[in-house]
């Protein structure tokens, strides 16, 4: 017993001497701690996306964007390999909580990309923020997530647009371009759909239109005739249903059976911007509109070529550019704040990382200009961590080529 103690003491003294020989030791002064990465260790980034279930297409879309962003840097950052690991957060609060708990328990993780669904983020953000991590989302669009005093927590950012932008674009398109004067909305109880339809209806009423009906279906419903009959009683000009598959296709397919909906234009949102939607919805989908993220330009074409090369085909949804930008926001910030020792050891302050992302201003991302500072949305409140400036949005129109010809994505007919 006594001997083992003296060996231990000797070892401690030896370690201290060795450490002193290695130069001035790094001292972490960051208020919420640092991540230290030894010379042969990788920089660990995690994602929490929806990998299984009905919304797996969103996860595939985002993972592709993340992988391309990493391979664009040759898979390394400041001489360290970039390690990407993932958790399945699903498209639910439970999934978000579970994934967040697992990610927060791993001290080597520097930053997290996720989640896809606002419901998952709402449940995950507290745990992630409490662990000192940053969470950058490629596709959470629910407004409350970035409003201080609502769901927002320090460390949360998103590269995609808030639905305060998307809902307004949809309402302006319906009122000004389609000449609609009445609208009915249907949501599915999720934070995304509920908040988006509320923004759309509010903006539509501000423009001078009337909102005839705001209702909801349950996730899992197959019979939409009852709610469509309620909608048809007022025969609105536009029916806006920012929900997901399979409920969206059910609404489209059953809409033609209901008397009173003959002159109603159907309109969905980015939750339905998925390549399987037109074919599943059938002939009634021809001519309907979808609001959603829209990115164009030479850089984007270059990105799509990399996608076809590295992953194959075309991205299944519209959020890959935001996933690419989310990854770069994190990696750029690490590059900026990391303190490197002579031997290559990295020290990353967690609060410094947050400050670096918050300070991003006028960054030219794949999806457009990104500025992560505070934004003022009038009576709704001040948003924090909204990096998108709302320029990467458009209205798509489904044509026969998407329904029967397998074409994707559909043509964009309007941009704000």
């Amino acid at each position: 017993m006594k001997r083992s103690f003296s060996i231990l003491a000797l070892l401690i003294v030896a370690a201290m001497v060795l450490a002193a020989c290695g130069g001035p030791a790094f001292e972490c002064a960051d208020p919420i701690g640092c991540v230290d990465i030894a010379p042969d260790e990788p920089v660990h980034i995690a994602y929490m996306l929806t990998i299984s279930g009905a919304t797996a297409f969103l996860g595939e879309d985002s993972v592709g964007g993340i992988e391309i962003a990493i391979s664009d840097r040759g898979g390394t950052l400041l001489g360290h390999e970039i390690l990407l690991t993932g958790e399945d957060s699903g498209c639910s609060a439970e999934g978000g909580q579970t994934a967040a708990t697992k990610v927060a328990a791993d001290p080597t993780i520097v930053g997290v990309i996720g989640t896809n669904c606002s419901s998952a983020a709402t449940a995950a953000v507290g745990t992630i923020s409490g662990a000192g991590l940053v969470l950058v989302s490629p596709s959470n669009t629910a407004p409350a997530l970035t409003i201080e005093g609502q769901t927002w927590q320090p460390g949360y950012y998103r590269a995609c647009h808030t639905d305060l932008f998307q809902g307004a674009v949809a309402a302006e398109f319906a009122y000004n371009e389609l000449g609609a004067r009445s609208v009915a909305t249907i949501h599915d109880g999720s934070p995304y759909a509920d908040q988006l339809q509320a923004v759309m209806a509010k903006r539509f009423a501000e423009l001078g239109g009337t909102v005839s009906f705001q209702g909801a279906v349950n996730v899992g419903d197959t019979d939409m005739r009852t709610i469509l009959t309620t909608v048809a009683a007022d025969a609105p000009d536009v029916l806006y249903f920012p929900i997901f598959e399979p409920e969206g296709p059910f609404i489209v397919a059953q809409s033609s059976e209901i008397a009173g909906l003959e002159n109603t234009t159907l309109m969905g949102a980015d939750g339905l911007l998925v390549d399987s939607f037109p074919e599943n919805s059938g002939a009634n989908a021809v001519g309907m509109y979808l609001s959603g993220p829209f990115v164009s330009g030479a850089t984007y074409d270059n990105f799509l070529a990399k996608w076809a090369d590295q992953i194959g085909g075309v991205p299944p949804s519209g959020f890959h550019a935001f996933a690419y930008d989310s990854t770069n926001l994190i990696l750029n910030a690490i590059e900026e704040v990391a303190v490197q020792d002579d031997d290559g050891t990295l020290h990353i302050g967690r609060q410094a990382l947050r400050d670096a992302i918050s300070a991003v201003d006028g960054f030219a991302g794949l999806s457009g200009t990104l500025s992560c500072g505070e934004k003022d949305f009038g009576e709704v409140g001040t948003s924090k961590g909204d990096c998108a400036t709302g320029e990467a949005l458009g209205i798509f129109q489904i044509t026969d080529a998407e329904v029967t010809g397998g074409n994707w994505p559909p043509p964009v007919i309007y941009t704000p």
Binding site: F57, T222, D223, E245, A253, S281
Partner: protein, 354 residues
């Protein structure tokens, strides 16, 4: 007199009686308000009724599988919804193949017939396989054991299909021949809804005759009455049970194709869960173990579910009526079970069976 009444008095009975009156009053007030405001046209009501009947006949076909198995083994086969999914999923590929080659539109009857045969075969095979692998080794075990196994079997089937075909959504093709509108009592009804209703009724009547008029039907009824005595009478119980599972599977497979014709979207690995729960509700509603009960329970649930949001809930001024559709359906189940624990057509179980 009063004293005897007081002895029998119980607060629970009083509560249930009050509950019954309140619900009945709510239903009457809701219907009255909706009818007097005349918000919907008669054509819109007709749409809801016929869609409800088509949906109800699909519930009824699945419910028959629950009721047949329960009648014989006193066991709830919770994997039945997934047996339905397996048939619907497999036949979807054949139907899309027919649609691509143009055969679906040139010979719709043969094509749909082939899909039904394929779906019924797959579902039958799966039901028989499940019985052999998951349920037969546990016969005679406490009743909770096969119930848990059934839930496990349900997950196994679901995630096998998820593994095979992924988590994305598939659709049945549009059948042009079924898209026309037929005039029924002055209302335009999509032909597909009438075809589904009629075909389901033919299958249900066929099943009723098999059970009531044939030798194997007699054997099924005997096993259901008393397994031990049936065995003493020389009935091969295992064979009867396998045939019962096969019949339930075939009906579920056919229901899967009908569902694909009626409502082409939303074919995916989890599609059997909700219809399974609804069909189980329909079976309990009609009186589980009772064949005409499952038919009536299914049709009733389909129509009730389709009409109640617009007819009753909206009349009461409750917002987002449509989201309460399932709540209303299950509330009705609770109500019926309070006042008729044996279901609409059910008989009181003997001590031995209960």
């Amino acid at each position: 007199m009063l004293r005897r009444y007081m002895d029998r008095f119980s607060w629970v009975d009083l509560f249930l009686r009050v509950f019954q009156i309140v619900v009945l009053a709510a239903v009457v007030v809701g219907i009255y308000n909706t009818v007097t405001t005349a918000r919907y046209s008669s054509a819109q009501w007709a749409t809801l009724v016929f869609a409800g009947l088509a949906q109800g006949s699909i519930y009824a076909l699945i419910a028959l599988g629950y009721t047949l198995v329960y009648g014989i083994l006193l066991m709830i086969n919770f994997a039945h919804g997934d047996i339905y999914m397996a048939g619907a999923f497999t036949a979807m590929f054949l139907a899309n193949g027919f649609a691509r080659s143009g055969f679906m539109n040139s010979h719709p009857v043969i094509a749909i017939g082939a899909c039904i045969v394929l779906a019924a075969s797959v579902s039958t095979a799966l039901a028989v396989f499940l019985e052999r692998v998951a349920y037969r080794p546990l016969r005679g075990a406490p009743r909770l054991v096969p119930l848990i196994t059934a839930i496990g079997a349900s997950f196994t089937i679901e995630y096998t299909f998820r593994g095979l075909y992924g988590a994305s959504f598939y659709s049945y093709p549009e059948v042009k021949a079924l898209r026309s509108l037929v005039n029924v009592f002055g209302f335009d009804v999509p032909l597909v809804q009438l075809v589904v209703l009629f075909a389901a009724l033919v299958l249900m009547v066929g099943l009723y005759f098999i059970v009531e008029r044939t030798k194997i039907g007699k054997a099924m009824r005997a096993v259901s009455e008393d397994k031990d005595v049936a065995r003493l009478m020389g009935i091969d119980i295992d064979r009867v049970i396998v045939i019962t599972f096969a019949m339930g599977g075939a009906l579920a497979g056919a229901a899967g194709v009908f569902n694909g014709l009626f409502r082409p979207q939303g074919v995916y690995f989890f599609m059997g869960f909700l219809p399974g729960v609804k069909a189980f509700t329909a079976a309990v509603l009609g009186g589980i173990g009772n064949i005409p009960g499952a038919m009536v329970g299914g049709l009733f649930l389909g129509v009730f579910e389709s009409l109640s949001p617009n007819l009753i809930i909206e009349g009461l001024g409750i917002p987002s009526a449509n989201q309460l559709k399932d709540a209303v359906a299950f509330t009705m189940l609770v109500l019926i079970l309070i006042f008729r624990p044996q279901g609409i057509f059910g008989e009181r179980l003997t001590e031995k069976k209960a």
